[in-house]
Symmetry: none
DNA sequence: CATGAATGAGTTTTCATTCAT
DNA sequence: TATGAATGAAAACTCATTCAT
């Protein structure tokens, strides 16, 4: 009996591909028109399929929307994590992640839009998808921050959580403001501003010596 | 003909009072239920008036909503400006404004909600009300920042606009994150975090000496 | 201060009149097309009003339908009760009620239809409206039957409940069969049949001798 | 060419078996959820086959439903007929049939449900399946009733049709009422009640004297 | 000015039926 | 034969807005 993909495998695969392509189209359209003003007809039309078909892949409009946000945030998380991999000094890994974060939202502005839509629409969900993924990222980066405090690169007079908060708020704010202003500022410039200000402030004087290279503009 | 308030004046006054009270109720309700889930009936009901009456004061739902956001942002601007008044050193005035900003949104979370609603709903409007008022504030504070750069308190190796951007992004991010996390952190702590990080980074070493008092926790 | 109808009274009155006329039209249409095949548009159209207006008077299609059945059964109950009033011997009152029941459904076949619709549609409701009203009628007639048993008119070898059941089943069956056959038999004839059989018995006195064994309880 | 079941016969046989098993499942499910709330998916799922397969055996949902009702009524007719067979006195055969009828619906309440569903759904069909089969039964029993009138067991002052109507209505009503009340009364008791009332009459001999006027035709 | 009844366009969702594989 | 993915028509319900009183 030959080993190979079973019918079920193929079907599952096909179904996943389809879900994926629906999510991609929907993410774009939800971002373009807003959740309320993008009806299922519109998504189906864009994909060239019938309205009813969408319901074979997602239970309803809300779930489709959630899948879009989730997909985007998973992407973002992946990109940020990947940037932190490799045999590099901790601050370097941190910096690369920050850059990755800003670039991700700069290149995928539709996900900024979806975050806002989600926040506006579902005020009941405790925090929204962004903040769920943020928790994951935060947990993973905590150790890096810990190392940097331990080796004297970062200030040790602030609780680790405040430190993480500060960087998180700065990045969130930067991402949103930039998006609102029509991406007038390149992600390079954004990166410089964040590094110069937040880390200019968080890094010790001694640390600044050590990081001269890393902190300077790209 | 007697001098005094004319009938017209009285009418205008009364109309404005009415508009004002409608805006207050609507702001609360839009924030509570969201723009889409707060219907005109709901606003009218809360005020104890008929639905049709709302249309005597506002052309439509959207305009009423905009009036709410506008009202809130004007309040915010006023509060921030007021904090900057008085015979105080420039950095002091800056710090007081920042504190006022954070406190305003902490005490009026409904306006955070409205900002998010507006952003989500009206993606066509170039930037939204927050960013229009932000421009006004920014213009007014530019001179303060200029003074602080000139007198060596703030770093002069960054363009003034980047400096303003950095503070703005940090504040916007802090306000939103705090709101999303359920205001788990007091505005005092938020203030400290912002001052310690952003200004810890922006202030020169020399400047830090001078500002020792101002920068330290409240 | 003059005594007279207040604005509220007038409004309530008007609202009730409207509800009433909607129920009348809806009862007719639900009966004609069936619950499933009679959409709200159809009811509204028949009344010359907009679909949305229906929702000002009834929360939804189901409630409108229920109001129709309820209205009809209340009418039926009223008619049956009224027939039992007056200074007449008990059996006479009973007979008049039975006649009234059969005539009511003969003249208002739409209510037969609605009863069937309800039964088919809402299998979850314990019994349906007919059987709720039936309970009321039954309770009221129990005393008449009691008198007739006591004075020796009716057999006393059957529990009162079985007696009531028997008459009830006969009437229900007669009403439904007659309706299903297209009202081929006049309510006069139906009445005769019921009285002659249920009360008179089909078996002759002589026959009863012969059937003693067969007729007696199993 | 060999004599024996041809390929075609085998196929036909298999097809019929399949139809049969589909009808059984569908009857159960239509009765449980109602025609409208039992979709083809649900029937297919219960049988462990694909939705499309149903359409190989029945042209559509309605035809499947009709087949269910038809199947049930044919069963009922068979059971009632069988009970009337044998070398027994006519009234005995009649009584056995009545008992069989009541027992059938008591033990197969799903068919009561289907009758109601059919009646509610297809008001256009002249009478519905029940009444078609009823005609058959009626025709067959007419001769029994005739004998009983002829031999003086049953009253001869009523047209034979009225007599048949009366028994039919009583049985139909009893079956439906009993079903609606949640089968609170055993089919034994139902049987007794029918026999006692319709055939025995509720009014005592003495009572009949008194009611001569009231009971006689209007 | 105030009212609130009436409107009707607009959207989500369901499901019988089809048909390519 | 059997499958099950795709279709698209149909219908309940909502709510901003209007307007006669």
């Amino acid at each position: 009996m030959p080993i190979g993909p079973t019918t079920t495998d193929v079907r599952t695969q096909r179904k996943n591909d389809r879900r994926r392509s629906i999510v991609e189209a929907a993410a774009r359209l939800f971002a373009e028109h807003g959740f309320a003003d993008c009806d299922m007809e519109c998504v189906a039309g864009d994909l060239g399929i019938a309205k009813g078909t969408l319901y074979l892949y997602f239970p309803g409009k809300v779930e489709l929307f959630r899948a879009c946000v989730d997909w985007g945030m998973a992407e973002m998380q992946r990109v940020v994590f990947e940037a932190a991999q490799g045999e590099l000094p901790p601050f370097r890994r941190l910096a690369r992640s920050i850059r990755a974060y800003l670039e991700f939202f700069d290149q995928n502005p539709q996900y900024v839009e979806l975050l806002i839509q989600e926040r506006a629409m579902f005020r009941d969900r405790k925090r929204g998808t962004y903040f769920e993924y943020r928790e994951g990222i935060r947990a993973d980066f905590r150790s890096i921050y810990g190392q940097l405090v331990a080796d004297g690169t970062l200030r040790n007079d602030l609780p680790l959580d405040r430190l993480l908060d500060a960087v998180g708020a700065m990045l969130y704010g930067t991402m949103l403001v930039n998006n609102a202003m029509g991406r007038a500022i390149s992600s390079d410039e954004q990166y410089d501003a964040v590094m110069n200000t937040v880390f200019g402030g968080l890094v010790t004087t001694a640390g600044q010596e050590k990081l001269r290279e890393t902190l300077k503009p790209v």
